[in-house]
Symmetry: C2
Subunit: 432 residues, 2 copies
């Protein structure tokens, strides 16, 4: 039965294209995913591997015997190989690289040396290049004689004597200019270029601003080293956005929703640990005031409101600041304006909503002073939340960390601890 | 002095290109932003307006006298006009539209009728079209005679007798095929097309999967109605990502970091209100057990830990589920697998970390039973957090809402309330 099923599976798989198979594998629990993977013939397996989510690809690479993996890697071109290179075990990667021709091997090794998140890490090797002394007709001949153009080719790169980039020729110009025109007379010399160490997110903004489809990557002497396409940039930006949402909750990039249970449990430990520590410390602020609580037990019921309202407004401020930083709206020069504005907003909202909460507390417990303490504590905690909601993302950004990631832990810790401390402290001073 | 300064400003502005001016305006406080805007000459102002963030553009439109705004709008082409149409006051938009030629007016009116977030809302009007009976030479002639190609033109659209789309011809093929080839013999008939009512995010995934640069938009009879480009899709996806981060904190899309203070305060009221309500209800769960707390005041210090650890792990589960939904990894068919897996993970982590917390509570307060209650409450709250962390995003997605938006409020509300209730309830049963 097992064998019959597997034959039927093979037949079904043959009907799907590789992008669809990858999509299917992304959705399957780990054990089924592995069964399907083993059924794929080696040539398709390579294409599928490149299309898979990184986490899924990593899992399948791990369970594939090295001999088969070697064959599968042999079916990939070098751009595909560098794309999945960081998922491969070192010996296999070395073996795959060493079987390449010298110039390809050089390119792969250089590309792998650029850190993640740089232009160099996202660029591809092949581009159509020509010389400024060529004519349009020769350029057309070049395009015709290239059996498969690099994907998203919208322009040819023009190189000078020392392989330095001197201009570009949009494909459309091959049609528009007379055949005998010299490239140097019609090329576009005002080119947007990138350096391999440029930040890929900044490159993404440039692609958007200048409506680019592809752009040359050049070294410090302006020699062509690679090509960046809108597709690789879109890929990268999507990946960053996804990983950021996970990182905010303390999960590593590409956590596998369908992975093994034990691993899934363990992946959450560092975050659980951090949160237990902060919650534990915040709880110590409460225990300082246990006597006060014993005398006025209503405080125990009201204190989480003070903490939670601070956390919420602080996260609002932080979200605005994080967006402002990402869009380069916030600079050192206008930082004091933002502090002033957010603090005034917090003061306003603290007084208004603090008064409302104070009113509730007064009515519920028939204690006017309790209401006043509530109002004061909410106002102060909102001011603190605004301060931290601006300062923490700004500092993280200055330290070249992702402000979206660490801000909310620090913020919640501060507004919880201080919410408890302010409220119970004021209550101790005024009420008991 | 005022006049001298303004002359100097005008000179400075003339040195910048419009994208840079827009970038500058995005960074200025409201009053300075308005001063600079008033200095711009009308022709540049139109280009700048299109490049600005929506919120900033909206603010500047509001303060510009209608006569000047009319002139500025007159400098825009119709794709630019539709791009900012939803920011304009209705009378001005109508006036701008009525001054267009009939076919352009039709197009603008139709485009504005598509809801936000659809392909129709993001498409542009112009494309290069030809007939299947034309030859490559005629296509080349068409390209040559078009003074300015629509941006990101990588292919020509081939239309049949009734303007229905029958194929596309990549620009590159104009170079590769002999001039006398008939378009119908060389065109690509296997075309990725979109309908105006398609979801723009789905279109974005298709652009990524098939490496598209531009694609035709067709109606139900397959007639060409517009063109979608990778640039408009990237724009849209970035906007969605930004607004999502704000929406998660209850801020409306494009909240103005530099806007007026009162407005900034008021913008946060709905969210403050919701959070005050949930925090207030959670606090009522505590007040049920005030007698218990009075007898064992340590409970007041420990209960926020139970609530917070539940909220944190629930948000982890929700983040994984939201990503899984966005990537179409989660279907009705594998939902029960995900429930099972996440519940087991929660049980495991609940027992392990609950035991650790229980140990702390036991040691701190020399009360073994208190430790046991702590462990049980943490475990139960983690199970509840996993249940809600899966159910809420999944239901929101089924209801065609953004699961990233509402999940965290519901989740925090549940884990707070139930954290308090479980912990204090168990304590009441076992300890007092």
């Amino acid at each position: 039965v097992q064998r019959q099923q597997s034959a039927a599976l093979s037949r079904e798989l043959k009907k799907l294209n590789n992008a669809d198979i990858a999509h299917l594998l992304n959705m399957l629990p780990a054990d089924k995913r592995r069964t399907v993977w083993q059924q794929l013939d080696n040539h398709n397996a390579g294409d599928v591997l490149v299309e898979l989510n990184d986490t899924i690809a990593e899992d399948l690479i791990e369970i594939t015997e090295p001999a088969r993996l070697g064959i599968i890697l042999g079916t990939l071109d070098i751009d595909e190989l560098t794309e999945i290179a960081d998922l491969l075990p070192a010996p296999l990667l070395n073996q795959a690289v060493s079987s390449l021709e010298a110039n390809e091997r050089n390119w792969v090794e250089r590309t792998l040396s650029y850190p993640q998140g740089t232009v160099g890490d996202n660029m591809s090797k092949d581009s159509l290049t020509l010389n400024e002394r060529h004519t349009i007709n020769q350029a057309i001949e070049l395009v015709r004689s290239t059996p498969e153009l690099p994907p998203q080719t919208d322009k040819l790169f023009v190189l000078g004597k020392h392989r330095q980039l001197v201009g570009v020729v949009p494909l459309i110009d091959l049609i528009r200019h007379p055949g005998e025109t010299l490239i140097e007379d019609c090329m576009d010399k005002d080119v947007v270029t990138f350096a391999p160490h440029d930040d890929a997110e900044d490159a993404g903004q440039a692609f958007e601003r200048y409506d680019l489809i592809s752009a040359p990557v050049v070294d410090e002497r302006h020699r062509l080293v690679g090509r960046l396409t809108v597709e690789s940039i879109m890929d990268y930006l999507r990946e960053v956005a996804e990983n950021q949402a996970l990182a905010k909750e303390g999960l590593r990039a590409g956590t596998d929703l369908f992975g093994p249970i034990l691993e899934g449990a363990r992946e959450r430990w560092p975050w659980l640990m951090i949160n237990l520590c902060t919650a534990f410390i915040a709880s110590r602020f409460i225990s300082i005031f246990e006597d006060t609580i014993q005398q006025l037990v209503a405080l125990a019921a009201l204190m989480p409101i003070v903490a939670s309202v601070g956390g919420n407004t602080g996260n609002q401020t932080a979200a605005l600041v994080i967006r402002g930083l990402a869009m380069e709206q916030i600079q050192r020069g206008n930082l004091s304006y933002i502090y002033r504005k957010e603090l005034i907003i917090s003061l306003l909202n603290g007084v208004i909503w603090g008064a409302l909460l104070g009113l509730f507390a007064w009515m519920l417990y028939s204690n006017l002073l309790l209401g006043a303490v509530m109002m004061a504590a909410v106002t102060l905690n909102l001011l603190l939340a605004a301060l931290i909601g601006i300062t923490v993302p700004f500092l993280l950004d200055r330290l070249n960390k992702d402000p979206a990631m660490g801000s909310s832990v620090v913020l919640t810790f501060a507004t919880d601890s201080m919410g408890f401390f302010l409220f119970l402290g004021l209550a101790t001073l005024i009420l008991v």
